[in-house]
């Protein structure tokens, strides 16, 4: 460390240049990963398939309602991952993992908001049903 500092002191110009060069490389490594034609096309084709199948299933009603619902939701989850990887270029290494960390935190909050709201409101709904009160009064 001290030798580096000495060198920098003795020859500020070269060290500044080195610094800039080194930084340019670092930026390139840190920054968002760029997609290639191949990755965009792969993502697009996967998305088309993952969109067409649920629409086709619902529009034709080939399978039972329950099975269709499971497949539709499953394909949506897969397609969201496909978009994240091929279009948004999510990569655990980019930004030193900070964007994955932000994504993870957001997903936790989203899951809490969605499951919490649905769970609480479903029970509130079923407990506030008018006939509920009546049946309790009759007992």
């Amino acid at each position: 460390m001290s030798t580096h500092a000495d060198a920098a002191h003795n020859n500020p110009v070269t060290s500044a240049e080195q610094h800039v060069e080194g930084h340019a490389e670092a930026v390139h490594e840190e920054g968002q990963a760029h997609g290639s034609m191949r990755s965009y096309l792969t993502g697009f084709l996967l998305s088309v398939v993952l969109t067409a199948i649920p629409f086709w299933l619902v529009m034709t009603g080939t399978l039972s309602t329950q099975l269709t619902a499971v497949i539709v939701v499953g394909m949506a989850v897969v397609q969201i991952v496909v978009h994240m990887v091929f279009f948004l270029h999510m990569d655990p290494r980019s930004e030193e993992g900070w964007n994955i960390m932000a994504l993870g935190f957001t997903l936790i909050v989203v899951v809490i908001v969605l499951s919490g709201s649905l769970w609480v409101m479903y029970h509130l709904n079923s407990n506030m049903m008018p006939d509920m009160e009546m049946s309790q009064l009759l007992q």
Binding site: V27, F44, T51, A76, F105
Partner: protein, 210 residues
Amino acid sequence: MTAAIQQAQNTEDLVFYVRDEEHHAEGSSTALGFWIYLMSDCLIFAILFAIYGVLGGNYAAGPGPQDLFDLELVAINTAMLLFSSITYGFAMLAAEKNRQGATLAWLAVTGLFGLAFLGIELFEFHHLIEMGATPQRSAFLSSFFVLVGTHGLHVTFGIIWLVTLMAQVKMRGLIPANRRRLMCLSMFWHFLDVIWIGVFTFVYLMGMLR
């Protein structure tokens, strides 16, 4: 006196924190900052989805999803947004190769697909309101219009941003600042497509299965 200076020099070697902020090139943290904005936007949509999930079954003796939604229209809309995503990808690839003309052309195509998406959505809304399925009709319709409308509003602002950016690229070329802006809009645009996956799955497709 000299001892004091000596002392000061010795303590200078002990560093408990970074005194000089590490130098970052201008805009090097923009991507992360913008990503965090998108995540907060994601939370807005999560809340709107939760509202729709809670209220989506309250028709107030009015029309339900099966009476209202036209899946063929939604499929076309989905295709428009998906096409706009891949054309934006092509714009980014063209920008990477420093081809300004091609970048602008692909951005224009993206904008047209975005406009087609908005046009179809407004047509759908108009059709619904004409039938009397207004946001005031039931809690289901209120939450539907808020969720889908908020997404549409995002697309609208995305298109305004896209046009502004096209003007900037035209005026100043593919300078680093413009590349950074292109990257941010790219994230925004693809993010909107991700939200749309949730919309067409949980609102339209699941609505038809209800």
